[in-house]
């Protein structure tokens, strides 16, 4: 009889959880449909067809952000021989991709894409991250505790960690030059340094129009897609390419939902599991074992 009750109870709680998550889902759908980023957010459209891999953007970033001296000069193109990721010493890096059937390689600059609804921001439990109305995803290193959850959450593997810092390791990533430039309406340093305007800076809404216009004008040149227009709910940095996006290092399976909507239901259950369940089950345990303890007591009294 007792066992039946427990099974029923567990069944009930599972059903309740499922119902809660269904309700949560419909709410989420409405929320993500209405947001879609700040209307005046700025962005950058990266046109891979123009990039020649000169690394000027990397040099500009290094200077603007006061990053440590590089191990090799920025005009040393041998670093392009292997694929690199962003790091504590380089908030942006250029990689080269050989495209089958094309006689030219393509180059892709990576940095923080400054998502409309950033997964790093959602995942951060000390609220170190902020999405500014200008479009930048910035963070406050003074509150960062170095838990690295955002590194796991980011669908683009962008946030890096200052492993070299012994006393105060924190997250390091591109901030769209927010403090020194974007805040004042100026383009980030990499955009200004790029000799071929691979990087077009402007209002995100305008950049989407410009991107589609370029595709329409030169349909044979471009893939008919702007990467980042809708990926993970849209990003401030977007890409045009002449090769299929999966051939130039892009993850084409991210979907159009913000990462937040995949984890919201689960995350709402976490506080419940952590706070209510221990008390509840401790109560059940006490109730279930009360007879035994009383018996034991009586026994010992005898």
């Amino acid at each position: 009889m007792k066992a039946m009750n427990r099974r029923k109870f567990l069944k009930g709680s599972l059903l309740g959880g499922a119902a809660a998550s269904v309700i949560g889902k419909s709410k989420n759908a409405a929320a993500s449909a209405t947001f879609g980023g700040y209307p005046e957010a700025m962005g950058v459209l990266v046109d891979l067809t123009r990039c020649v891999g000169c690394r000027s953007c990397e040099a500009a970033c290094n200077k603007e952000q006061g990053l440590p001296n590089p191990a090799q000069p920025f005009d040393d193109l041998s670093v392009l021989d292997h694929e690199r990721r962003t790091s504590e010493g380089a908030y942006t890096v250029v990689n080269r991709y050989e495209i089958p059937g094309q006689d030219h390689p393509l180059f892709r600059k990576i940095q923080c894409n400054h998502c409309n609804e950033p997964a790093c921001l959602t995942s951060c439990f000390v609220k170190a991250y902020t999405k500014t109305p200008e479009g930048a995803v910035i963070y406050d290193p003074t509150v960062c505790v170095g838990c690295r959850t955002c590194m796991v959450a980011c669908p683009f593997y962008v946030p890096a960690y200052s492993y070299s810092s012994v006393l105060n390791p924190v997250i390091k990533k591109c901030i769209f030059c927010y403090d020194t430039r974007l805040k004042f309406g100026r383009p980030p340093a990499c955009v200004e340094a790029c000799p071929r305007e691979v990087l077009t800076f402007g209002r995100r809404q305008d950049l989407i129009k410009i991107g589609h216009q370029r595709i329409q004008n030169y349909p044979d040149l471009y893939e008919d897609h702007i990467y980042g227009e809708n990926e993970v709910g849209g990003t401030s940095w977007m890409y045009l390419s002449s090769a299929p996006f999966d051939q130039v290092g892009f993850d084409t399976h991210l979907g159009t939902q913000p990462i937040l909507s995949y984890v919201k239901e689960f995350l709402t259950v976490v506080p419940m599991v952590l706070t209510i369940w221990p008390a509840l089950f401790a109560g059940f345990h006490l109730l279930a074992t009360r007879k035994d303890t009383q018996k034991n007591k009586e026994k010992s009294e005898k």
């Binding site: 500009a60 001296n69 191990a71 090799q72 100026r186 071929r196 305007e197 209002r203 410009i210």
Partner: protein, 178 residues
């Protein structure tokens, strides 16, 4: 900003050259023999552009670089939709149309406020130079590296951590950079 006087000087020079040499339709050999491109020079020395030589290479088809602005016929179908009969324009220098402040708020706001403007996606001056020159150089199979056209300045060496500012060879990782 030490390059401003240079910028003014080059603008004046370019204007003088235009006024003196161009009528409504340019003819072979009408262009300037040489143009010093220095309005953006900071990290690199000014470019000594051999205009006469490039006229020869393009067989005096000004449209290769100057679009329709000199009255020469253009080939790009996208341009021809509107510019088949456009003819020569008053402004023919690169910087007359391609802005040096392409991404400054003032420029972006001006573009934004003008609903009638078609060329909203017009590249800035630096990109106009580099895209035009480098794409053609690649096609022709001629020198196309940064320093093939303009030597780097000391400020440029510093910027790229190269030359006198290069990191010691011992810093160079022996294998992959991970």
């Amino acid at each position: 900003m030490e390059h401003i006087p240079k910028y003014l000087l080059s603008t004046v020079m370019a204007m003088l050259l235009c006024l003196s040499s161009y009528s409504t339709i340019a003819l072979a050999g009408d262009g300037p023999d040489a143009v010093v491109i220095d309005s953006l020079a900071q990290l690199y020395e000014p470019v000594n552009f051999d205009h006469a030589m490039h006229e020869e290479v393009t067989e005096s088809n000004c449209a290769v670089c100057h679009h329709h602005t000199l009255g020469t016929k253009i080939e790009d179908e996208n341009c021809l939709r509107c510019h088949a009969e456009s003819g020569a324009t008053d402004e023919i220098s690169c910087q007359g149309c391609h802005a040096g402040n392409r991404f400054e708020a003032e420029y972006l706001n001006r573009i934004d406020a003008d609903n009638t403007l078609f060329h909203r996606d017009k590249v800035g001056l630096k990109a106009a130079f580099h895209i035009r020159c480098m794409n053609c150089h690649e096609e022709m199979g001629v020198a196309n590296g940064c320093q093939d056209c303009h030597a780097r300045t000391d400020a440029g060496d510093k910027f790229f951590h190269a030359g006198n500012y290069a990191p010691p060879e011992s810093d160079k990782p022996t294998s992959g950079g991970h």
